[in-house]
Amino acid sequence: MPALATAARWEIGILLVGLMVVVVYKIFTGGISLSGLLTAQDSKGNLSFSPARAQMLMATVFTALYYLIQVIESSATDSLPPLPATLVGILGGSQAIYLGGKARSLLFKSK
């Protein structure tokens, strides 16, 4: 029976890591387009740099890296490491700013 569990572990590892590698490879080679990630349309319909998107990108990358480091450091436990409530609040606020900016730009554009 341990051999079955080991085989299942290897299988999940190969499929999961393989899928991630394929998606990341396609992002880096342009197979998955990231153009326009940090730009947004203003009220006149022009594309311009969006600070709301930039701050959300920073908050996302910071939170993701912080959590990965936490997981690597506390790998001996049988539970995922908890996230500080402050960080969850910051991420929630960041996403609220992004959504607010998007709603505002669409509202002014449709008028």
């Binding site: 029976m1 997981v71 436990t77």
Partner: protein
């Protein structure tokens, strides 16, 4: 042969390989009947899911499954809400796999903060989608009222 026919043959081949693997395990693995049955079903399902997963991955690599619009909103550039959902999904999935591979016996406990993080991430995507669809329908409705709309808006006008 059509592409659909090739897919059906591929799926049949996968199922046959799984059944053959299960048959050999049932015949040649030592043990009582219950152990043999458990191992047969376990390895058979394992082989089947692995082959299905590999088939999907190979199709993605060959371009038969198109991921070019994975991060794009309809007709626009890349979307931050999709991008952050992708990143958090990968991070949590990788973390879970890492812990299971390290410690092994049972599924790791997930703290409420992590569930909240995933909830915020997915909600942002859903709300962003809602805002976008609402904005598009608002524009279509506005254009229709002004007499500059597309066919759908004109269809709504009474004859």
């Amino acid at each position: 042969m059509t592409e659909k026919g090739e897919y059906v043959i591929g799926q049949i081949v996968m199922v046959v390989i799984s059944l053959v693997a299960a048959f050999f395990i049932a015949v040649y693995v030592p043990g009582d009947a219950k152990t043999k049955l458990t191992m047969t079903i376990g390895y058979g399902l394992l082989a089947l899911t692995f082959l299905f997963g590999m088939a999907i991955m190979v199709d993605i690599i060959r371009g038969n499954i198109d991921l070019s619009a994975l991060l794009c909103e309809s007709g626009k550039g890349a979307s931050m809400s999709r991008f952050q959902l992708l990143i958090f999904t990968f991070v949590i999935a990788l973390s879970l796999f890492f812990l299971v591979a390290q410690n092994g016996k049972e599924f790791p406990k997930i703290p409420p903060e992590v569930l909240m993080l995933l909830g915020i991430s997915a909600s942002t995507y859903a709300v962003s989608k809602g805002i976008q669809v609402g904005g598009q329908s608002g524009q279509n409705g506005g254009n229709g009222r002004n007499g500059n709309g597309d066919g759908d808006a004109q269809k709504d006008q009474p004859k």
